[in-house]
């Protein structure tokens, strides 16, 4: 694999991060210098920055697969996939924010700057090829998340969310760093791409290696909110400003998956033929992750059933979805990874969409409680219908995008043979359970009687909802281009997925 040691030469391949960092500073400075309309200006600049990031990211595709900055950072279609993903999901949040009243006017400049900062952190995380970079990028995402969660600090819930998030996050990071220190002791390197050989060379130290991997997994598991590292998620999701919640449930989660995949597939697996791997040194981490996956979706769905606050319900649903996505992770083959990436795309559309409806209705409805959604369909039809579509897609009902995503996951498991059939069964059962609570929302909106009086939803939000609704429906019927894109994105540096 081509390695670029020269830092200056590497810069040319780190343009997305440069642009993001530049705009982050720019917004902060502009916010200090200008005095009028700072919120709008910051929003505009953020959009501009994201657009430019997208542009330079797309221009990186011909670069192929490389290691940059003395093997600190990897650039490959896999990383670019996630960079585009992050830019896209942040862009949705940026676009929906001006029409809401979540963020105090005086702090809007910093708000948008932090949105770019978290995107920067996620981009770095997707590219991180060294434990140092993983820790730094993960911390950047985490710290920015704490701050964003506490952005409405005047409200007790927001402050509480920030505190819990910070404490939990710090513990998870601390544990992960401790695991990394053991990993360094075992392998003598902090570079992911040097680890398989080092592990193979170092002879058998299975127990220490397992402890190290497990502790590192705590850090990643916390980011993707997998059981038993998930417990921060519902409280934080409920307390944080809803746009931030929407972002947290998509962006950092996907970033967690990105680093999880790169870490495990680059450092702890060796390629065994095209599109397959074997775990290095016989550590049975696939089984470990499979159990975590099964428990995660079950716990998430079971608790979600009893929720009455929509944000909290969606938080548990997000936990359950982390479990679904993890199903693809355990297979050690390209098909599993493919299903994961595809599901992430689908998940981004439908989950952001569901949150977007909650956000759009929070203003006119003054509530995020399920009981206030009764009879919503007769008060404002389009958001209600869109919400129903997003929720059914999250359930995995055809012909919506969620169905295709789940289909790929289950099919990959079934294709892999009898070993993982149990996981597929658990997954299907969970999908059924999830229908129970998603349908409850739909039932409330369409069949129950609620107060009368029309609600007006901001037109900016209507447009955004439509923009997310169309792919959610379309991807359920025709997804060939996205599938091709996903397939191409499997070019992970080092071990090629396909």
């Amino acid at each position: 694999m081509p390695v670029i040691t020269d830092n200056i030469a590497s810069l040319g391949y780190a343009t997305p991060e440069l642009v993001l960092a530049g705009f982050f500073l720019f917004i902060l400075l502009a916010d200090l210098v200008f005095t009028r309309n700072r919120g709008q200006m910051a929003c505009t600049l953020a959009i501009l920055g994201l657009a430019m990031t997208l542009l330079v990211t797309l221009r990186l595709y011909p670069a192929g697969e490389r290691l940059l900055f003395a093997k600190m950072m990897a650039i490959d279609p896999f990383a670019l996939f996630f960079k585009i993903f992050f830019v896209g999901s942040t862009a949705v949040i940026v676009l929906l924010s001006p029409a809401t009243a979540y963020i105090p006017r005086t702090r809007q400049g910093e708000y948008y700057a932090f949105l770019l900062a978290i995107t920067l952190g996620m981009s770095l995380l997707a590219s991180a090829a060294d434990l140092v970079m993983i820790v730094l990028a993960l911390e950047m995402v985490s710290v920015t998340s704490y701050l964003l969660a506490g952005f409405m600090k005047e409200q007790a819930a927001s402050a509480e969310a920030a505190l819990k998030y910070a404490i939990y996050g710090a513990v998870a990071t601390g544990t992960m760093v401790y695991g990394m220190s053991l990993l360094y002791g075992i392998t003598g390197t902090t570079n992911l791409y040097e680890m398989p050989q080092a592990i193979a060379r170092g002879g058998a130290a299975p127990l220490a290696l397992f402890v190290a991997v497990l502790l590192v997994l705590v850090g990643f598991g916390y980011k993707i909110a997998a059981v038993p590292f998930h417990m921060w998620a519902p409280d934080v999701y409920e307390g944080a400003p809803t746009p931030v919640t929407a972002l947290l449930s998509v962006g950092p989660k996907a970033a967690g998956f990105a680093v999880l995949i790169r870490f495990f597939y680059a450092a702890l697996a060796v390629p065994a033929g095209p599109g397959r791997w074997n775990p290095v040194a016989d550590i049975d981490w696939p089984l470990l992750v499979a159990v975590i996956s099964a428990v995660t979706m079950t716990v998430g769905n079971l608790i979600a059933i009893n929720q009455s606050n929509l944000k909290r319900l969606l938080a548990y649903s997000a936990i359950a979805h982390a479990g679904y996505i993890l199903m693809g992770f355990v297979l050690l083959n390209g098909q599993g990874l493919y299903a994961m990436l595809f599901y992430l795309i689908v998940y981004a559309f439908m989950n952001l969409g569901a949150f977007l409806v909650v956000i759009a209705l929070a203003g006119p409805l003054r509530s995020e409680e399920l009981k206030d959604y009764a009879g919503l369909a007769s008060r404002t039809a389009f958001p209600a219908v869109a919400m129903a579509v997003f929720l059914f897609s999250l359930t995995g009902i055809p012909p919506l995008a969620g169905f295709v995503g789940k289909f790929y996951l289950f099919a990959a498991l079934i294709e892999a043979g009898r070993a993982w059939l149990w996981l597929a069964v658990v997954g299907v059962l969970n999908s059924v359970i999830s229908l129970y609570y998603y349908a409850r929302i739909v039932k409330a909106m369409f069949l129950e009687k609620g107060p009368s009086g029309r609600l007006t939803v901001a037109s900016a939000h209507q447009v955004l909802i439509a923009a997310l609704l169309i792919p959610t429906v379309l991807l359920g019927i025709y997804w060939a281009p996205v599938a091709r894109f996903t397939d191409y994105s499997l070019r992970l540096l080092g071990p090629l997925a396909r």
Binding site: A159, E160, I167, T173, Y178, Y184
Partner: protein, 101 residues
């Protein structure tokens, strides 16, 4: 003769102490202290491995980055603690539990 194992034992004990503090202390600031202990335990590992097993400076550099992260985290967390104090008039974590279920 002091060897690698000695340091690893100390580090494991520090890690456990830090965890213990995090789990048992009510006070937000005390929890932060526990977190610092955990991070320092990791750092001790890094430096010890660097010295006794692999040589070079990788471990030390990593430890410096961890110290930097700890500083940033401490700053943010203490700021959040102050914000929580403004709302709850307390920094006892078990009283900050309005979000649950």
């Amino acid at each position: 003769m002091i060897g690698l194992h000695h340091y690893l034992v100390v580090s494991a004990v520090l890690f456990a102490l830090g965890m213990f503090a995090i789990i048992t202390r009510k006070n937000g600031v005390a929890i932060l202290m526990g977190i610092e202990l955990v991070l320092n335990a990791a750092n001790l590992n890094f430096v010890a491995f660097s010295r006794y097993v692999w040589g070079g400076l990788t471990g030390q550099v990593f430890a410096i980055f961890v110290i930097m992260l700890a500083a940033a985290e401490a700053a943010v967390m203490l700021a959040i603690v102050i914000a929580v104090y403004d709302r709850f008039q307390s920094i006892d974590v078990d009283r900050v539990d309005s979000l649950k279920g």
